[in-house]
């Protein structure tokens, strides 16, 4: 992304350079190709590019910035770009991904329920849809996926893997994000005792009644009685000083339903740290992140090289989708380093 605007190909009509007397020996990769080769390749294209260049060159030249100031400016630009991109993607663009995933998961889960192949536990592959959560009072309809690792929850709320599925006898835990990726659980704390919501799983539909909403220090609910299904919805609060931008402590909603479905045995007894509430996937993700960042650096170098040969318009037309895609993927990876419910 960082492109030195100071360098231009020699075969284009050169604007009047400011530092005329200082002739810099350029490294091999920025030296021009031989015109014969270039023209032989695409003379027509060159002609048109040359025309564009000629028109642009007729504008009064802007004095380029050089030296320390240039380096500082470029660095700050880069930092700004990266930070703002992160903010823009997390708060805005990530919802696109969430919506798309949900649409696909809904179709998949719908088909599985209809064809009676939806999972009933106890062991399901992470990322597979396991339940449909409908909270009418909050306008939430989300497909719950298996697994609560940060990466699994990019698609939607996640079901904690060492608990029964919602609606089955036992206590089930579902976590959801509160400020990014569609913010499915942003309004969770607005539920009130007595509110109801539905969960559809392979065994059928259960209507849960909210017992209470708990934050730090609130008393735990009474023990579950036999034959009931309990669901604990968990997310992070968004009512801190910075509101939606900075999720704070965990908040839980306890809800219960009678006449639970039978629960299969054989649940895993342990849960990795990465899937605990507020867990991060730092251990798993770092190699992947390294690869993504290396890809970005490589792409930047490629762009610099390309700009020596072709016009900015051409290069950016070709490179923008690639840059965007790589930036997007990298951000998705970065998010996995963050707590799973923000």
């Amino acid at each position: 992304m960082a492109v030195d605007t100071d360098v231009r190909p020699d075969d284009a009509p050169a604007p009047a350079p400011a530092g005329q007397g200082r002739r810099v020996r350029r490294p091999w990769w920025s030296r021009p190709l031989q015109p014969s080769w270039w023209k032989g390749l695409s003379a027509g294209l060159l002609q048109r590019v040359g025309d564009v260049r000629a028109r642009r060159a007729s504008r009064p030249p802007r004095p380029p910035v050089t030296g320390t100031a240039a380096a500082l400016s470029a660095s700050l630009t880069m930092i700004g770009l990266v930070c703002l991109w992160l903010v823009v993607q997390l708060l805005g663009l990530s919802a696109l991904r969430h919506d798309r995933d949900q649409a696909l998961l809904y179709q998949q889960f719908r088909t599985e329920v209809a064809s009676a192949t939806a999972p009933v536990g106890p062991v399901t592959d992470p990322g597979e849809p396991v339940a449909l959560l409908r909270i009418p009072s909050l306008g939430i309809e989300e497909v719950v996926v298996e697994g609560t690792a940060s990466g699994d929850m990019l698609a939607g709320p996640g079901h904690q893997r060492n608990t029964v599925l919602p609606g089955q006898e036992g206590t089930s835990v579902i976590m959801g994000r509160s400020s990014t990726y569609g913010r499915p659980f942003a309004a969770l704390a607005q539920l009130r005792p007595g509110d109801t919501f539905q969960v559809v799983v392979a065994q059928g539909t259960k209507t849960f009644t909210v017992l209470d909403v708990r934050g730090t220090g609130d008393p735990l609910p009474a023990a579950r009685t036999a034959g009931t299904a309990r669901v604990v919805l968990a997310t992070a609060t968004t009512d801190g000083r910075l509101g939606a931008l900075s999720p704070g402590d965990a908040v839980y909603v306890d809800a219960e339903a009678k006449n639970a479905f039978a629960a299969p045995a054989g649940l895993p007894s342990a849960l990795p740290d990465s899937e605990q509430l507020m867990g991060t996937e730092a251990d798993v993700v770092l190699p992947l992140l390294t690869a993504c960042l290396a890809g970005l650096v490589g792409l930047a170098l490629l762009l610099i090289a390309a700009r020596q040969r072709w016009s900015a318009a051409l290069v950016w037309t070709v490179a923008s989708p690639v840059v965007l895609a790589l930036a997007w993927v990298t951000t998705d990876v970065v998010v996995r380093l963050l707590p799973n419910v923000i």
């Binding site: 880069m78 990266v82 060492n162 065994q203 604990v232 900075s246 629960a263 509430l277 707590p339």
Partner: protein, 889 residues
């Protein structure tokens, strides 16, 4: 949608259940009384039974008759040429089940000659003076009326045992039978009307004589028995079950003994013996035809009738040479022979699915050990047919699978034979239910037609050699690295020969293996524990050669014992020029071992002498492919097979069991006394926990049987559903009282189990069972004083879940087994509403503490930071640019 889903889940469960479980249920209560004729039979008088474990059945039968052979001379004078006081005994006659073997012994009979190596079916016909034993439908009429047992309802596996077709004069001796009906002395006889020539073409051929004995099937069909196509369908040449009827051999002292396998209508529908159809075992000692007055001059038939045999007593007839018809078993149906029959009335137990038919209640499932199978078969009706009891059902599966079902709350109780790891907080009580064990069953024929070998002794090293696949099997195994000089099989192992002298040393592949279980089982762990306590066996496994130079299979060297699942570690694929084996390469030793999933299959293989060795490799002309498969049944006379069986099966099917070495040169067979001695050694470490039989103690005892195992009913003593707790507790109590009365009736303890009694060596088991039964019934809720932290649901800071779910936190690896028929129909109805059930942990109203703080920490600040930094940087960059440009211009 919901009913569909439930239906689908139930269907899946049902499919799994039917595939994976052997369901034992059983039989309604009425059992016909023994139909022994009080005038001729004296029950149980001094009969030595073969039974080894479990006290003797009182249904033994014995009877004595005088049999004579009489010739009438031309003048009409009767000449008694032979008179025999024959006594026949049977060890059990009541409540038999399909394929059960009963011991029939006799004395005082005419010594046999021309012994056939295989006495069964038509192979036994070429013998002289044998004792023919058959199973027949019907019993004798005790009033002595006309309705007596007829040869027409006696089963034979081939027509040639029933019928004589187109015989010359010298081979039609039945026509001169002194006692024969007028009609049977005709040239063609046996049925009225006789079948037509289209059905039986060779019946009526000119001067030749014929006699047929039709077979009357249970459904009324009459089979003419004059060719293989006029026999019942069960009488096919390669029928599923080999012939059971035989012409048994009498020793020169007039005694003999065989094990006779009875067939129920499950195995033989045409014969049709079941709980409602009375049947008999007919024993016909052949003493020779009695002959009517001869013609003058005597015809060749008269001469033939008076023959007394070509072979000398005790001789063998390997090549099935012709014998004198008058003393052969072929004419067992002729009146001379038939009138001297012994009819042993037998009754069959009701079929095992009757509980399911007669009791519509849903069953309470007990899951686990197959060791309990035979006992459960007899116990189940005593529960399901009683209104104040419940419907008991034993679902056989590996011990660990049964345990997991019980722990996860899906099964009421587990049947296990050792202590297992508890993974939930609810305490589990083990109530002793039965004392039984495993045995190494065998079927071995002595060479030279000398009958079965009955005193097999095995030591731990020999078993270790078999389990470690250290015999070569055949020359195909010679190429195996590191053990090419080992014996081909146990028959050629000098150690085995020294221990069991006088057996054939002709090697067979089956002699390289002990047919064993492929699944995890407490039986395997006890067997290997016994081996691991034997220093010589362990030295062998660790790589030392035995005194004869045999070494362990290198793939097994240093094997860690004990284990509960037999590992198949060999990977040797022989290289051979054989086209079939080249097309089907396989690990040779594993094809020989071929372990199976249930002990019952091993018993069946032993019963049929049909090894599970899968090395047969031949060309299939239909598909033009080479294929491998199970080798053929072994022929009688050359049988050799070893298999791991349960004592219950061994007794039910009359399998012989080996004596195992405990200390040097002390071999202990499974008997009441040796099981009791082992129980005495077993110690209990903690109340309600299993008794542990330390094999090190067994080695110091000279009387304890190492294969003794105590089967426990294990159930949760807290948080078990009320209905289940009631049923399980009842089962625990009844099975150590009523269920420990030896016998073959409903609710009684079959042979193969040592009764648990309130006195004697089993008293400690009795007391422990009663105590556990009481605790299971009480289901005492969690006591506050022994409450530990893990029982209280607390917020765990890492997970944020605020209630601890106890549901199904089973151990890893349960996924394979736990999906099965959850008896949920009654379960949901019986769920008590109080808090002390299922996985709810404490009563309402108890304060459980406060929600712990879990914060997103620095992670939550990422977005604000990024926003601020981004904005600042962008501003800064613009500022630098503007300032820099201004400074330059």
């Amino acid at each position: 949608m919901r009913p569909q889903l439930r239906g689908r889940v139930l269907a899946a469960l049902a499919g799994l259940a039917s595939a994976g479980l052997v369901t034992l249920a059983a039989v309604p209560g009425w059992l016909p009384a023994a139909a022994a004729d009080p005038t001729t039979a004296t029950a149980g008088s001094g009969v030595a039974t073969r039974q080894q474990v479990g006290s003797a059945d009182d249904s033994a039968w014995t009877q004595t008759q005088t049999l004579t052979r009489t010739f009438v001379d031309a003048s009409g004078a009767e000449d008694v040429v032979g008179s025999y006081d024959v006594t026949v005994s049977a060890d059990q006659t009541e409540n038999l089940r399909g394929r059960q073997r009963i011991t029939i012994s006799w004395s005082g009979a005419h010594p046999s000659a021309a012994r056939a190596s295989d006495p069964y079916g038509e192979n036994g016909l070429a013998q002289e003076y044998p004792v023919v034993i058959l199973q027949c439908r019907g019993v004798e009429d005790p009033t002595g009326d006309e309705e007596q047992l007829s040869p027409d309802t006696c089963w034979t596996n081939s027509w040639s045992q029933r019928s004589q077709l187109a015989r010359s004069n010298s081979e039609s001796t039945w026509r001169k039978d002194l006692y024969a009906d007028e009609a049977d002395t005709e040239r063609v006889s046996g049925a009225d009307p006789l079948p037509d020539a289209a059905t039986c073409p060779s019946l009526d051929l000119g001067i030749y004589s014929s006699h047929i004995t039709p077979f009357l099937a249970a459904d009324g069909t009459q089979y003419d028995a004059c060719s293989s196509s006029t026999m019942p369908p069960e009488a096919a040449v390669d029928a599923a079950y080999p012939a059971a009827e035989l012409a048994a051999f009498t020793e020169t002292d007039g005694t003999g003994e065989v094990q006779f396998e009875v067939r129920s209508d499950t195995e033989n529908e045409s014969l049709g013996c079941n709980d409602e159809t009375a049947c008999s075992i007919v024993v016909v000692p052949i003493v020779g035809l009695s002959c009517a007055a001869p013609s003058v001059p005597a015809t060749s038939t008269d001469t033939a009738c008076r023959k007394t045999g070509r072979f000398i007593a005790g001789s063998s007839n390997y090549t099935a040479d012709g014998v004198d018809q008058a003393v052969s078993p072929s004419l067992w149906w002729s009146e001379s022979n038939w009138r001297g029959r012994f009819t042993i009335p037998i009754t069959f137990a009701l079929p095992s699915d009757t509980c399911d038919i007669l009791d519509t209640r849903s069953a309470t499932g007990f899951y686990g050990s197959e060791l309990l199978a035979q006992a459960a078969l007899q116990w189940a009706p005593a529960y399901c047919l009683s209104d104040d009891r419940f419907k008991f059902q034993l679902n056989q599966m590996s011990d660990v699978a049964g345990w997991n079902l019980m722990e996860s709350g899906e099964g009421a109780a587990a049947e296990v034979a050792s202590q297992r790891e508890e993974t939930t907080d609810d305490p589990v009580g083990y109530a002793p239910t039965a004392v039984t064990g495993f045995a190494i069953g065998y079927i071995i024929d002595k060479p030279d037609n000398a009958g079965e070998y009955t005193h097999l002794k095995l030591n731990a090293r020999l078993v270790a050699k078999l389990l470690t696949q250290s015999y070569l099997g055949s020359d195909l195994g010679r190429g195996h690295e590191g053990m090419g000089d080992n014996p081909l099989s146990i028959m050629q192992d000098p150690e085995f020969i020294a221990l069991n002298p006088g057996l054939s040393q002709t090697s067979q592949e089956v002699g390289a293996t002990l047919l064993s279980l492929s699944i995890s089982s407490d039986v395997i762990s006890q067997l290997t524990d016994w081996i691991s306590q034997d220093p010589e066996a362990m030295d062998f496994i660790d790589g030392d050669a035995d005194p004869w130079g045999m070494v362990v299979n290198p793939n097994y060297e240093g094997l860690d014992l004990p284990f509960d699942e037999t590992p198949l570690l060999d990977d040797y694929v022989p290289t051979t020029s054989d086209a079939c084996r080249t097309a089907n390469p396989g690990v040779y030793f594993n094809q020989i071992a071929a372990p199976v999933t249930t002990l019952r299959k091993i018993s069946d293989a032993l019963l049929s002498a049909w090894p599970n060795v899968q090395t047969k490799c031949d060309y299939d002309p239909d598909t033009e492919l080479y294929k491998t498969g199970r080798i053929a049944r072994q022929s009688v006379g050359a049988r050799f097979m070893l298999g791991l069986v349960s004592l219950g099966d061994a007794e039910r099917y009359g399998l012989r069991t080996a004596a195992l070495e405990t200390t040097d040169d002390h071999y202990v067979a499974p008997t009441d006394a040796s099981l009791a001695a082992a129980v005495e050694l077993a110690t209990q470490t903690e109340d309600a926990k299993p008794f542990v039989l330390d094999q090190a103690d067994v080695r110091t005892s000279r009387t304890a049987y190492p294969g003794t195992m105590i089967v426990y009913t294990a159930a949760r003593m807290r948080n078990l559903k009320k209905a289940w707790a009631r049923n399980v507790s009842q089962f625990m109590r009844v099975s150590v009282t009523e269920g420990q009365v030896s016998g073959s009736g409903n609710g009684e303890l079959p042979a193969g189990y040592l009764p648990i009694e309130p006195t004697g060596p089993t008293a400690k088991l009795y007391r422990s069972a009663r105590r556990v039964a009481a605790e299971v019934a009480a289901q005492a809720p969690l006591d506050e004083t022994d409450d530990d932290a893990s029982d209280t649901p607390t917020s765990t800071a890492s997970s944020g879940t605020t209630t601890t779910s106890h549901t199904g936190s089973g151990s890893a690896g349960t996924g394979d087994y736990t999906v099965d028929e959850v008896p949920s129909a009654d379960a949901s109805a019986d769920v008590p509403t109080d808090a002390a059930s299922s996985d709810a942990v404490v009563a309402d109203g108890t304060s459980l503490g406060a929600t712990a703080a879990i914060s997103s920490g620095s992670g939550g600040m990422v977005l604000p930071l990024a926003l601020v930094l981004g904005a600042a940087s962008t501003l800064g960059a613009g500022l630098v640019r503007v300032l820099g440009a201004r400074g330059r211009s």
